[in-house]
Subunit: 353 residues, 2 copies
DNA sequence: GCGGCATAGGCAATCGATTGCAATTTGCTT
DNA sequence: AAGCAAATTGCAATCGATTGCCTATGCCGC
């Protein structure tokens, strides 16, 4: 039941670890080159030889030494995925948006037979400095807001980088993201079309994506001749726990609103939750609209009406584009058009005020 | 705005990529050994030399070639985390339990300055065979049920493996897990103590952990002199979507129960959701108890009463134990005692039948 | 029976960092 | 000023797989 390292019971026999092609070569009486070629399917070895080598490799439980291969070939068949969390605090890989994204990227990479190195720290912040020949490329999710300058600087010396985020003036790196201003507009238009006038906004001012969404909301309000009530602009942090607390404070403040446009689904779910606890009915008393369309938005309880960012599309686009970069193609940033998903959290305004 | 690979505009200058210690050494007029030692903080280089080297390295944007270092040192400072998903189908890294676990492990590894290689395929199923010198150890989450034999076999040739899962007779690998039978017992005892008699069980028979939980439930029922109604044993798949569908079918079947003991929180959340849609009140009409204590259990809507598996403890224990293995210690499997978290989804039985 | 060519396989260099050992320099003692 | 020890630095081998180039073997046709 218990495990011990180095079961070197068998006297002089070296520990199982570390069968090399040289070991195989010696046993078979061939050269290491032949073993290598046989294993890699080169046409330069005879069929019988190949079989013998394969057989021996299996028997000896041979495993390539990836470090050696990578060193020699200069490619790692590995992609680094970074969630810049540590810098921000309170944020975890387990944020639903990250998770949904990671799931897509991971499957996409697996399909291509690439490995995934996962970081929650931005490369330029790591102790062990950035490392080369470790990965062939890097995907960064989020953090663009806090780190734009740093990313720009980093991108100058690191080519194969794709970032999930908004297109920003002067960016030196490649992005995939949705059009947040348009998304904000769509949300606002939907809410207005339902007849709402007293509209609150819940978002994290530190998140540039959310600021763009808010901006879209402002635009539409202005165009519709409605004015935004500054006392209904609530600052709510990105993370679930913080969002809940802030939402509680907002609702407890007693300010009245008929609709809540939220900067993210997590915020929307928390706002909705708090509203219900406070006895307000969604969508009868208040409409709530989210942003992202994370899977949680439609998994439990009331399904959230939201702006869909098409995370699966975005994720596989990130991977596609990274591979394009790696193979030296010249590509441009991509913006995915956001889409309205009407579900159960918004309703028409009832009593005209 | 667009990015191009190989901006080799600057004529003969080789592309930025790949500054080596030799380049630095040549520029500084010292040997590569000195550069290496200076960078790694060896006391064998003079202070002024070290400063010159560090400066030059920064200026040249030098990055260690991890492949070379790993090859030479025989250690990768990397741990592989595996979620055996592909084999099972329908399962994703985004399952809440996995995600909560991954978040802990990722932080724990970051803290120790180790990197995390993420897989959703079991090593013995990968095309590129298993690879050595890639990682110093491996943590496997779930999949024990479907793969026990395979894991056992694999463990015979791979030492540094820790698996999250139940302790199983004849296991050759190290596990960290909670005591599922006890957990099942605690759940059942709680439900019975509330006066419930018509108790349903929702679980995935393919998941050995869940089977143990059901077993605990059976034991307690027997001890209490209650008998389990086989028509209230519902087979529900592990994943959220499948769980919802199965729960709907179960509730639609019209079989009556006052309490639902669930094999996981995801199942419980879905059961609760379906019950509510069907017009039954939780906990007034039905008590629902989950298992796991994932963060979703207490984030939105009604807080789930559940059996806590102490995921953060488990996650960091997995990491701790792996490091013990790596450093050659002799350690035994660990079982974490599960704990009852009373929240809002269970209530006392009202009308005695 | 011989030249010629294809095929299979071996030799040795290479990738970049590390490190034991040797060599050199520095600095200090008497 | 000579003698030594200590502090620095360099040399060269090493980690394991890959691959360009060369050699040996065999096979063919004429």
């Amino acid at each position: 039941m218990s495990k011990k390292k180095n079961d070197s019971d068998m006297a002089g026999n070296e520990v199982t670890a570390g069968v090399t092609i040289y070991d195989l070569a010696e046993n078979l009486g061939v050269s290491a080159s032949t073993v290598s070629r046989a294993l890699s399917g080169s046409p330069k070895v005879g069929e019988k030889t190949r079989q013998r080598v394969l057989e021996a490799a299996r028997a000896a439980n041979y495993m390539v030494n990836t470090a050696a291969r990578t060193l020699r070939q200069g490619k790692a068949r590995t992609v680094e995925v970074v969630f810049p969390l540590a810098a921000v605090g309170r944020r975890q890989i387990s944020e639903p948006f990250y998770v949904d994204m990671l799931a897509v990227i991971s499957e996409e990479l697996t399909r291509r037979n690439y490995d995934l190195l996962l970081f929650n720290t931005v490369p330029w912040m790591r102790d062990n400095a950035s490392q080369s020949n470790r990965v062939d490329g890097m995907i960064m999710i989020g953090g663009q807001g806090h780190e734009h300058e740093a990313i720009n600087k980093f991108a100058a010396s690191y080519q194969n980088l794709v970032v999930w985020g908004a297109k920003v003036k002067g960016q030196q790196y490649l992005t995939v993201g949705s059009d947040n201003i348009t998304g904000g507009r769509i949300a606002a238009e939907h809410i207005i079309s339902l007849g709402h006038k007293k509209i609150a906004y819940f978002g994290d001012p530190m998140e540039p994506e959310m600021e763009q969404r808010r901006e879209g909301f402002f635009q539409v309000m202005a165009e519709a001749g409605l004015k935004v009530d500054p006392s209904l602009l609530f600052r709510v942090p990105f993370d679930a726990r913080g969002a809940k607390i802030a939402a509680q404070a907002a609702v407890a403040s007693g300010r009245h609103f008929d609709a809540a446009i939220c900067g993210s689904d997590v915020i929307a779910l928390n706002v909705m939750d708090v509203l219900k606890s406070a006895g307000r009915k969604v969508p009868d008393d208040v409409s709530v609209i989210g942003y992202d369309d994370i899977s949680l938005a439609y998994s439990y309880g009331q399904k959230l009406t939201t702006i869909c960012q098409h995370i699966p599309v975005g994720g596989s686009l990130l991977v596609d584009m990274l591979f394009s970069l790696i193979s030296g193609e010249d590509i441009a940033p991509v913006t995915i058009p956001p889409t309205l998903k009407i579900r159960e959290s918004c309703g028409v305004q009832r009593r005209r005020q």
